[in-house]
């Protein structure tokens, strides 16, 4: 496919890896933010093509992974109600709640449906006026415009049977949390290209300046990631800490203005709890008060649910890059995609799932 195949060219990938080897005179630790990038890195063996002194740290950019357990429990409670059609992206179905996951609710007779787009959920509400349709609105800045449009459509159609369970999160506050951690080892970032397609790159400049870290907005194919690493290593070697854009075929400096306008109309910035990390100030989105009638939390009075994370899962440390999936004693033994202890083993963007799928047979790797 155009704009995919040419960015997977093995010969060019080797040449970029060679350029990185020539450029790096010492060890550096670079975090790729997005779980989609983590999967590409592990799947294509990009980390293994780099000099051993160059370390890639996998970041928290997996919305499925960082959705707190009490939100999963709320989803399970909603999906178990007989009047509810619960709509979600497929990734969320196997994420363990305190007692069960959404797939179990479905097997027990709950009406849980996987949708491709939030608009599909709005259309289900139009077709099933006698049922309550709840859409699980999770995601980063990339997904917020689509979810904002679904709520706008429902408001315009005056739908009384559509609501959203919102657990939206924002990337820059999470980067700040990573950098503020006393355990932080990250010296440069590959920022998430699709998040920045929406937000633009300006909000990353204060981060780069304050923490003196280079930030390279990067795409998702092997050549993108290798070029992003090369740009980041060059900055590190030259002592620069700028925001650069490797993914300019999609990312404009100002972002996607119509999308940002729609997001600001429907959502407001709030503190948000991240699974395994804890509450991060100003790190999430919630519906503005005028869209309260579409808030599943309000409609079904769900506010009282609280829950604890399973003790054995080290997801929080994996999500902040302090430990690798292989470092977990449960990895591949008591935790697998079929029987996950934590969300990073479930999601198609989770670091644990990537290591399980592509690295399980190879044994431990360098960290």
């Amino acid at each position: 496919m155009k704009y995919i195949d040419e960015y997977r060219d093995a010969d060019r990938a080797r040449r970029l890896a060679e350029a990185i080897r020539r450029t790096a005179t010492r060890g550096w630790s670079i975090m790729e933010i997005c779980g989609g990038q983590t999967h590409a890195i592990i799947r294509f063996g990009i980390d293994e093509a780099l000099p051993p002194s160059l370390r890639l740290i996998h970041g928290p950019g997996c919305p499925v992974c960082v959705t707190p357990i009490e939100i999963i429990d709320k989803a399970v409670a909603l999906a178990s109600r007989p009047e509810v059609i619960f709509c979600s992206f497929g990734d969320m179905l196997r994420v363990p709640g305190s007692e069960k996951d959404l797939l179990t609710v479905k097997s027990e007779g709950g009406d849980v449906r996987v949708v491709y787009s939030p608009i599909d959920a709005v259309n289900l509400a139009r077709e099933h006026a006698d049922r309550q349709v709840v859409f699980f609105a999770i995601g980063f800045e990339t997904t917020a415009p689509a979810n904002a449009m679904a709520v706008t459509m429902a408001a315009k159609l005056a739908l009384k049977n559509f609501s959203v369970l919102v657990s939206h999160v924002l990337v820059p506050p999470a980067m700040r949390a990573v950098l503020d951690s006393p355990l932080n080892q990250v010296q440069g970032f590959l920022a998430a290209g699709h998040v920045c397609t929406i937000t633009g790159i300006d909000e990353y400049r204060p981060l780069a300046e304050q923490y003196k870290v280079p930030i390279v907005v990067t795409g998702f194919e092997p050549l993108d990631i290798l070029q992003g690493i090369l740009m980041c290593v060059k900055q590190l070697e030259e002592g620069r800490f700028e925001v650069e854009n490797q993914y300019a075929r999609s990312v404009r400096p100002e972002g996607n203005r119509p999308a940002l306008r729609q997001v600001r109309k429907v959502f407001q910035v709030v503190p948000r709890k991240w699974r395994g990390i804890g509450e991060i100030p100003q790190s999430g989105l919630a519906l503005r008060p005028e869209y309260g009638p579409f808030d599943a939390d309000e409609r079904f009075a769900l506010k009282q649910i609280t829950a604890e994370e399973p003790a054995e899962c080290i997801a929080g440390e994996v999500l902040q890059g302090h430990r690798k999936p292989h470092d977990c004693p449960a990895f591949g033994i008591r935790c697998s995609p079929e029987n996950p202890l934590g969300a990073p083993m479930v999601s198609s963007e989770g670091a644990c799932a990537a290591y399980y799928r592509y690295r399980r047979q190879k044994g431990k790797r360098r960290t």
Partner: protein, 87 residues
């Protein structure tokens, strides 16, 4: 989750007052909302996420990486020439 797939706009139309497009991904057609990429025209490529186009792919910028290889080539040639030039 933040997966974005590039596809070619083959038709534009309107549904529920929203600009929509038929977008082709390797032979498969999907209905995509174009409300956030009003500039996208038939024949152009858009990046699609959960049923919404989030950007129009800039063809000139997409070529940048390949000109990067030409620069690497030139740099390699130049360094080889300078090595050859050493006594």
């Amino acid at each position: 989750m933040c997966l974005g797939v590039p596809g070619k706009v083959v038709e534009v139309y309107s549904r529920d007052d929203l600009p929509m497009g038929k977008v082709e991904f390797g032979g498969i057609l999907k209905d995509v909302c174009l409300v956030y990429t009003p500039e996208a025209e038939v024949g152009q490529y858009v990046l699609v996420h959960v049923g919404f186009a989030i950007s129009r792919i800039d063809e000139a910028e997409a070529e940048e990486i390949f000109s990067y290889f030409r620069q690497i080539d030139e740099a390699e040639e130049a360094s080889e020439t300078s090595r050859e030039g050493l006594p």
